[in-house]
Symmetry: D4
């Protein structure tokens, strides 16, 4: 945005833009206001290749409206997260949508070719964590990362984890997803030599407190290189993993 | 106590005891009231070989008073837990006391020979968990178990855990002690084939919440055969481990 | 697993196995990957007589798939926990299933004869705790323990507890199950002379906080020999009780 | 106060009081403002025989100042709670004070003769709960109740509780004081046939969370007739017990 | 129960009962075991005039079964709490039941004439607290107390509370029921000169946390003579109020 | 009310009112008791131009009943909050009702002309916060304030906030509404020079804990001039904003 | 700041400022960086008459350093909050400081004459809340408000509150400060017709949880017009009260 | 470790190592057991350039002992975190130690030249967050990253943040450190286009709950690319930032 201010200032200085226009431009350009939402249009330049619509709490109509604005403004790929199957069906009637039911993600536009530094490994402790894992995996893929999946490798069956040491040790970034006691992040964090993004899931019962147990466990990991995102936040983990996988000076 | 009631009833029936005396006997026999405490005297028969004084919140004088009653009633070995060094010095002036500073435990009387089914393994995640571990280990020893110590084998350095597979797989009962994320219980629980008593410790900072993170993690362990005692409750774990190690039909 | 590594090493040394094959074997042998799950096949040798499928969050089809692999690999008895009646009906159409509705447990294969050290006593504070109790009881039975049931003996009617002193004092392991204030574990722990596994239940309302009150109460039990499993975790208690009941050197 | 309004209204009607005076009287009469406190003077008529000063967070000088106003206005007995030994010494230099160190209570004026309906029984689970119990006991005594003490009868040694069934069953009100798992309230509540005021104490460690475990346990008591006051609130329990012990139509 | 033991002992001594029979009697007499419940039969003598069935989590059939046992054993009045309308309809087909929909309470047998010391006042902060209030009121009535209702007198409209000073100041026991900030207990506790039983309700939203806000507020009441029962526990408050209203030496 | 007492006193003094009548008047005047509610009638004089019915937990019939009393007593405008669409339809059949579905608010009577000191700005972090915002906005309008809406200006797109600096800096009061991390309040509080009322919303998932995260964030705002109302309490914020906007000496 | 950007743009357009200088100006002007702090210099224009230094966690030397910068830049009055007596003594040796020990506030420069719309009333529930009240009161005074103090008017002695109805009903803004159950805010909110800023204090013990009980109580106040600041945040309340007291279009 | 197993297997196959030696080697090689700790020796190869000693809860003697082992095994640079000044003085007497008091970090050996992909930006919300920031900054430097510091740029003074847009937008990784409401992470996350590691600090009071408020705020950040480490965990953030800054395929 700084660059934006600078270029506007230069336009004012050169006389090609009036002060009033400049002030207006600063205010109005970066998004389009469609009532129920202010749609970012320049985020693509600032934050990544695909634009994202957080679908939770939005009607299919609102999603379509935001999609319209984005596509109209030249956005190639749009990711819609937390979208149910019914909403997906309605959106499909207007936009070409590739819907991933497990992950609750829809994609408009084509998936990019992976161009990251290395692989993003997505690991889960159990079978029930797979929906969160798919949200993470597809997000990272849609943003340009190659993804390796490693599901149901919880620490109570340590041999299953150890059997995949190759994948663990050759990843550039790892997303460790687990509910219950969330120990997977620490075990993988101790084995791996790359950043581990821990995702606590709400899988469990009783004193798992809908993911709080796993969350605390992961925040207190004794392994270095582990950081944590919100409970069930597969999207956040996938976004961050891809960002790390494209790090630049 | 049932047996007690039965034998009293039989004495009443045989005429060797009056009803009033019987009722009195039921009320007065099993403990001696010394004002600040009601000292159990028959617990030895009921609950184990050594009697225990929970030292926290008791003055050295109170501890000595309770010791007096116990010893007078023929209790061979008495364990005093959560006793500071100063209190130990005062008690030492009256009773022969073997004080273990790390564990905060004093022992009056001789240690029994181990007569349990197998070994009790006491494992810790880190160095800071050692005081809790020693409380557990000495308790189990004082009650008649052979104890194997395995300290600083936290899951972030998994090879250290794996290097001791022999000890882990040959124990009869394991006490897994860890703070922070408490993942040790799950990892050991997944490797071992015996009961694992998990002890969360208050070691850690921030979101470890004085042991709550480890406690929740252990309660949610995905490994079978794991149960949990209170935060920092080394004594409880040692007592239970020894009890399991002496299980009988 | 250590033994596994050792025998593989010996096979390599004797020339009967190549290094590449050995590495492959270590990685692939102990489980079969069927996509949505990595099914442990050697657990029987490591952790007990019956194999367990945690049914919560698995579709009947997934349960059947895992059953297929287990049975194919020679597993005699399989316990499926947390399985609803509808799922049970579907599984029944493929495998011979003995379904216990109260407990939410299905059993494929025959129940073993009890061969434990003694009896496992399962006690509940109230009527509402019975489903959790049945989960514990049937689990222990399916794994080889004789089980005695003692339901609705909550501490507010202490005479009901005392009336069963015989059963309490002659058990080898006790599972004490209660919601609300969870005092049952302490009262039984004070009477009994064997390990007590406390199971808090989510029975109650208001400040019981779905089992938290009972959980805290049990963790803070002033009775020795008490340990705790997760809220409503009847399976875990039954598994552990049976393990203690088969303790070996 | 209603009566007060009524009598003021009557005075106004009879002409013996002006409207302005009446309004003034309503505002100014019931307390004396000494800057740091507004001392209630008519509470004696409204709420009980002795007046109480909550000593916590008050300087000895402030306590003396409030005492001066109370005594000057004819208050015979004044209870000062939560007062340390040093403060008591300073107050003693001005007022005749009977200080109970264990309870942290000082009494100015003479203790009343007990004139309640029956006895108030004060029971504790352990030795460490005694200070809270003494706060309760002395408060009830100072307000006019006969008190029976029953200390260290925790539920882990149930025979100790049962040995005192006579006292429990003959009390008019019972104060049950316990930390840790707080099961005492339920056990006594199940045995007794009178109101039980449960006082959770902050005695314990780890997951007792400074009395929260006992508090929740007591709030969820399955015994009828149990109500709860704040953690460590011996005064509140003693005050209420005495009030119940003097109930009137 | 003490008396029970004593009379059994006397029977043994007199030869009218054998030891074995005595032991049997202690165990079997005080309740009847009907599988899903152990029905107390002597509670009437011990704890009050009407017997109570806690209906939550019991099927209509179970309720009918327990009712059968109670009525067969001569229990005149039975209160069934937390019973929905459908269950009530089924019970009605077997037993004559007076069902109070608001309170969720059914009564079998006739209501006793009030014979308490004075009146029980039941006050609520708002309209939404009425169901809890009715549970309390009808319970107290069914157990023998005269009840005065005072609904919707929350502290934000203080004049409404003050308008009823007469009722507040002439009650023998007050039940103060409120959700949200629960200030009603303190305000009434400050005005009244009798025990106040505070009942927090789960009425509210957001940071009321389903009654936790009101619960904490009431536990911390600065008014003396206030004690607290569980969130929404109208029954407990009514039971205790009636007990206080019948206090005896 | 003070004035009320004074004028009643004067009437008594002048002989135009008897003491009994005066006491009665104090008790009965300010509200009308219609069984399920005590309807305030003089609140209009005391607290604002429109009267409010909190609709949550009231049946349409109860709402209509309260409306009847209010309208009969001359209340021009009545706001009904937290009313669902179905209830609104029923109320509409009796009273002329302007229903705002988004806000869940119905208005009987005409909206007042804005007469506040300045504008009330209502800002939200996201689209999902709009219902709470509308509740706030319509409340403030119904009570006499001009409202400016500024939706979806969350801090992750700071340029959207900055683009509206004019509105932010020219408001008299700002209502900042946000879920998730609730940072909007701090950012706006740092930019604005007027009171900011922060409303945490329950929008979010996982560790947002139904609004607790936003609530804590807002309570800890490092910006001065920020205060907080309950989670999702749009009405409270609108009411307070309007009150501030009409502040008087 | 918007105005700032606009004027800079105009300077650029008019040629009186280069683009580079403009960009530099936007970045560097509003604060002075003294290493450990970035001191705002233009806040006076934006946010109020006096500048504030939050003293907690700052050394006396750092406070002096920031004071130096502020005074050098023409700031007349500076408030230093949360400053201990020792720090105040050191600051006094360099700057003329008026230190209020109770409030922990120091003032450099002269107090402004009150120029607000009306009075700010500061009320406390008890004596222990006075330090927080003084922090609020002196802050409001230093920023230009007339303050009326009303201490120790807690709801358990309601007549004390009612005796001051005049002050309560004639205030423009009220700050209600209370610990324990925090009911003061609701009672005053119900009586007053102006904004009430509620300040929970950490006064209390046990289940007051260091102010959480009062905080929740205040957030759930059933009185309209009440908002809440952080626990013990007297400064924040005083600042906001003064801001409301100077509201402008 | 997989490679380790493979090379050992090859050695066994080639006959250069016996099976018993191989098993021994797997167990004993990777660490040295010095009683109170098991010192990792090969971590350097696995996890980074410098080895780290977590100083909290270790005596200076233990730190020296571990240092001895590490240095003896060829470790060039060792970082000791959470070490007080006194401990540092003792360690200095044996090893050449560069002690950073603010950060509580000591470094033995020389600092490496930065060789990361880009810059690590360390930003704090306030002055009190600086110790945590220094822990992060020095850790990242000691592990090979160039670090840019940006302190006291909290969101309440947004212009201070915006003034540093250049640094924010040109970083490769950002560490955002804040207490209180923790909004800094979201604001920076919204502006930056690189991974943001959020560190909540325990700075604050009241409802900040020792960092919980900031922690929740950061976990719920609406900005993408943000992950969180434990409260006050500057080391963890610095370690991870450096790891990301050295990402490789």
């Amino acid at each position: 945005m700084n660059n934006g201010i600078k270029s506007i200032l230069e336009a004012v200085q050169s006389g090609s833009m009036s002060v009033a226009d400049a002030l207006l431009k600063i205010k109005e350009e970066p998004f389009e206001d469609i009532g129920y939402a202010k749609v970012d249009l320049h985020r693509k330049l600032r934050q990544g290749a695909a634009e994202v619509i957080y679908g939770a709490g939005k009607t299919p109509e609102q999603i379509i409206g935001i999609l319209d604005v984005m596509r109209k403004n030249g956005q190639d790929t749009v990711l819609i997260t937390r979208m149910g199957e019914e909403a997906a069906d309605i959106v499909k009637s207007v936009h070409e949508l590739d819907y991933h039911k497990d992950a609750g993600i829809g994609i408009v536009g084509k998936m990019p070719l992976p161009d990251g530094i290395g692989n993003v490994l997505v690991a889960t402790g159990g079978t029930s964590d797979i929906p969160v894992a798919e949200e993470a995996a597809i997000t990272a893929q849609a943003l340009g990362s190659n993804v390796v999946r490693l599901y149901d490798v919880g620490v109570a069956g340590l041999h299953r984890t150890l059997a995949h040491l190759d994948e663990i040790m050759s990843a550039s970034v790892i997303i460790a997803i687990a509910g219950m006691e969330g120990a997977l992040a620490s075990v993988i964090g101790g084995l791996a030599d790359c950043p581990v993004i821990a995702v606590p899931t709400s899988v469990g019962y009783g004193a798992s407190f809908h993911g709080v147990s796993a969350l605390l466990s992961m925040l207190n990991s004794c392994a270095s290189g582990v950081s944590v995102v919100n409970i069930d936040n597969g999207f956040g983990a996938g976004y961050l993993a891809n960002m790390i996988n494209h790090i630049r000076s």
